[in-house]
Amino acid sequence: MSTALDRQIRPIYDALDTQSNKSAVLACNKVLKKQPNNVLVKALKALALVRLQKVEESLLLADEVLAKKPTDDGVLTAMMHVLRGLGRHSDIVAMFETAYKQHPQNEDLGTQTFFANVRVGNWKAAQQVATKMHKQFQDDRYLYWSIFSAVLQANDMATPEALRPVLLKLALRLISSGNTPSYFNPDRFYVHLLILRELEMYDDAATLLNHEIGQKICETSLVCDEIRRDIMKLKGACKQEGEQAKVKILEKKDRNWLEFLSLLDATFWDIASTSEPASEDVKAAVTEEIAKTRKVFSEAATVDGLKDRSGLLALLELEKRTKSHGLWTDACEIRMMAENYFSQFGDKACCYEDLLPYLAFEGEELEQWTSFLNSRKSFDTPDTLQRSINVYKLLRYNLTSAELTPELELARAQEYIKVYLDGLKFGVNLPDTELQPADDFAILVGHAYVSLWKLTGEESHLQSAAATLEYASARSKQSYRIRLLLIRIYHLLGAPALALDHYRLMNVKQVQTDTLSHLILSRAAMWSLAPLGDITYMSECMEASQIYMSNSTETAEFIARAFSTERYSQIIDFIEFEDRLDNSLQRDLMKVEHVRMRVAHEPLNAELVDMELIELKFIFDRIHHDNRDFEVIPNYQPRCQPSFNEQTLPLKPPGAGWLSAYLKVYIRAFQEASDLDETVEDKLLIGDRPKPSNDPENQLPLRERLVKKRQEEIDDLSEDEKLFYEYTLALSEWVGPYHDYVRPPPSALLAEAAKSNDLKPGHPLKSMAAAANGSATNGHSKKDEEPPAVKESPELIPKFFDDMKSRFDAVISGTALPSELLHIVATTQEAYLLFALETVRFKPNSIIKQYKFGQLAQSFKDLRVKASSILNEMSTVLAKLGEEVATPDGRKAFVQASSSIQDSSGVRLYFVSVKASAHHFTV
């Protein structure tokens, strides 16, 4: 580049670097005036434009640049960003491929082409590029790129079953063609082992592994060692592994739990590896093995003492497996081991979780265990406090249903409170960044009160739980576990604002939003005050969705980078990570919630309908991964009870079936309300489409699939949601034909789009060429048909509103929680909004006149009046309820419920807002 030109271009880059996109455009225009054909400047301008959201203008420039078939590095890099911004990833690949074809000697272009294919997961093409590069540049690294691309292609869901072994065999052949053996570095060695494992060539793998270098690699590389274990297991070399593990445990003092598992597997191999009942001889041999293994574990436990808990845990596992295989063991063996473990590690926080799998005691064993624990309570030092916490948790775990009466649970709650308050003395001097040692007692109080609420149905117990936990949370500001319990309890009490406060204080961010946002955003539309104009929950959805954007822009880049650093062992994990986030269930549940809130919050116009229609259709065919983390919620409920998580879910958590049902509901409604049909949509849409799904069930036309109910969906819905689902089906069946008749023809729409585009500076859209010769006759012919005869509304529609009213009346006269009432009201409201959405097209008088829809309009009006009067009634009742709770008496009742720890909070707030909300949506 000449210095003069460089001087002109530098300011453009500077502006782009500092995100001053407007001045970047100006700087580009200045250069383009003198050099209208400067491709680099055009590309940079397109980049600035796409960042300014001026998609159409950017699109035109980008196409101009691509038509020039650029090969210059600067242009290619700029274009890569432009096309990414436009969502045209396949064009990036094509661009680099074209460039590389022109300069096959250019190694850098080859690499870029390979990476472009890697980023979109186009393994077949990636493999071909890498093979070509290996031939050209004779570098083994490219050989391994091509090998691993073949492996990934074999792993790809889209690859036909029969082709997979062919690809793997090809990869194996390529490995032997390399200049250096695979153990040149651990990651290449890993690839080799992986291929042999997939091809079930375990003996060949074992030969490699038993080689001196192979052994050396496995000693230092955890990933190679992992695949080695796997292969040995598949090969059936369990006993051999066990022998090695024994040596490692005893001589090398290896405390990797996997070694202990290897030895355990080997011990029971003769019984566990066959389905035949074991002969007496076999049983005797295994019993002998058990004795030997017990000696090894005991020795490890003695050597380690307090330093490591593996030995003692392994002994417990050994006894458990002995028992489960029906081999003789002393009935008290497991209990003795557990006591032994407790004596050593009882003052560590991990004790409870460690022991849990081994404690299902009954009868006499249980009695002895209980009295053992009871003798271990003491509260003298922080260490004994932790031990007492374990004692209380372990005792609670084994409570029987007979011991879970309201009186006894109440006594327990009171005892937990007492020891909690006592225990606070050990944390008085801790800085507020530390956890209070007694926190878990407060968590136990929460558990006891929730269990009391389950036993009695009395809401006051939930209030007591909330009060105690609020107190504990103030004492231990960093305890996220206390906050987790509070979030759940506040939701049950109908106080989502308080739940959200605690959620925010947990500082959930980045990838955690995928696994934890369900805490606050499951059925968020039910909690949201969006109809009132409060967009707190909507913005929470937007924030939690950020991670998916960064996943789609960043992760693929790291897959490419792992190729360049030859870290093959990481690539499969990265791909899985990308896929799990990209197709996360929570992501799309959140999307649906956002749509539900938008519909309640915004005017129902074409902008909303068309955009959401397209976006929902995009996600309709995804195969989802459920990454939601429910395990993080503490659980210390007795084993005969459901977990705390299950007890405190306001409704069954929405799953794939729920998602599918709601996607269908909204796609159907939007399709009917929208003027976009598939042909129009296809022409107006910019960027790549989702990859077509391979599922045969998905090959049916979309329209047919949308009206098909599946059992999986029904199972996931609450009772009210089931009614709602039926209602929406009836509604769209009824109004669908009128929509189809009145909807303007595609040609008219495209012409409209072209016109509005012509008004803007710039050039007409590419798609307009197609629009111009659109099938105008098609549009007119439609008007020649008679309008569909007006039918009465199906019975189901008014009945739905009546049903919801009686549901509401029944629930309010019982001892229902606020959250249950809210669910009924929110579902009724949603039905009303969908009704509005589906009838908005028929509102104008001109339409009614033109199509003789007078009678139809009357039916709509009747239904609207009916629905809104029912909603009005509900809102009046809710408002009254809100006022009752908000009175001094109501507050006093709450304070009384929490008399153990005086702490009032703002539960009543929500009732007030519900009242306002109810008023709003009836207007």
Partner: protein, 172 residues
């Protein structure tokens, strides 16, 4: 990353963006290690890298953390010794270093117990925890180091490191 909530919800553990974790995993996977309990829960993890030029070539502990319920089991000690071993044998570094908040006294005394000593104090290295207390100590970091076998004369450490103050701009 889908399973680390029990660890990362704790206040001393920062949750970074995707690119942070993937950078480390794509370059130094052998300096990253997770410890799992027998029930599959994550107990703790360590993330490290190798960096520096010449005599300054060293292993760096970027993050080391243990979930609250698995503390006081010497897990950190084990992960540190793994990282030291790999830094020493695979990467042939001269020393291992790490940064820690000046207020995180539990961690500092643990590192001292493992043979680390303060090399210098770095001003305003961390963001505030937002608790409105002695924010100076909170945002400053100690750079702590421990020499490896390639530095038998202990050139990489000094005795009075707490008094050497540098600003965050001077370190990378």
């Amino acid at each position: 990353m889908f399973k680390f909530n029990n660890i990362n919800l704790d206040i001393w553990t920062e949750t970074y963006g995707i690119s942070f974790y993937l950078t480390y995993l794509s370059r130094w996977p052998d300096l990253c290690c997770v410890q799992e309990a027998p029930n599959g829960h994550m107990m703790g993890y360590v993330i490290g890298k190798a960096e520096g030029h010449g005599q300054d070539w060293h292993g760096h502990v970027t993050a080391l953390t243990v979930a609250p319920e698995y503390r006081r089991l010497s897990l950190a000690r084990k992960m540190m010794s793994l990282l030291e071993m790999v830094s020493d044998e695979t990467y042939k570094g001269f020393f291992v270093d790490l940064y820690v908040r000046c207020t995180n006294s539990v961690a500092i005394s643990m590192y001292e117990g493992l043979g680390y000593s303060v090399y210098r104090r770095v001003r305003e290295y961390y963001g505030s925890l937002g608790l409105g207390r002695a924010s100076k100590d909170e945002e400053d970091a100690f750079d702590m180091r421990k020499p490896l076998s390639r530095d038998p004369h202990r050139r990489s450490v000094r005795a009075n490191g707490r008094e050497f103050v540098v600003s965050a701009h001077d370190v990378s």
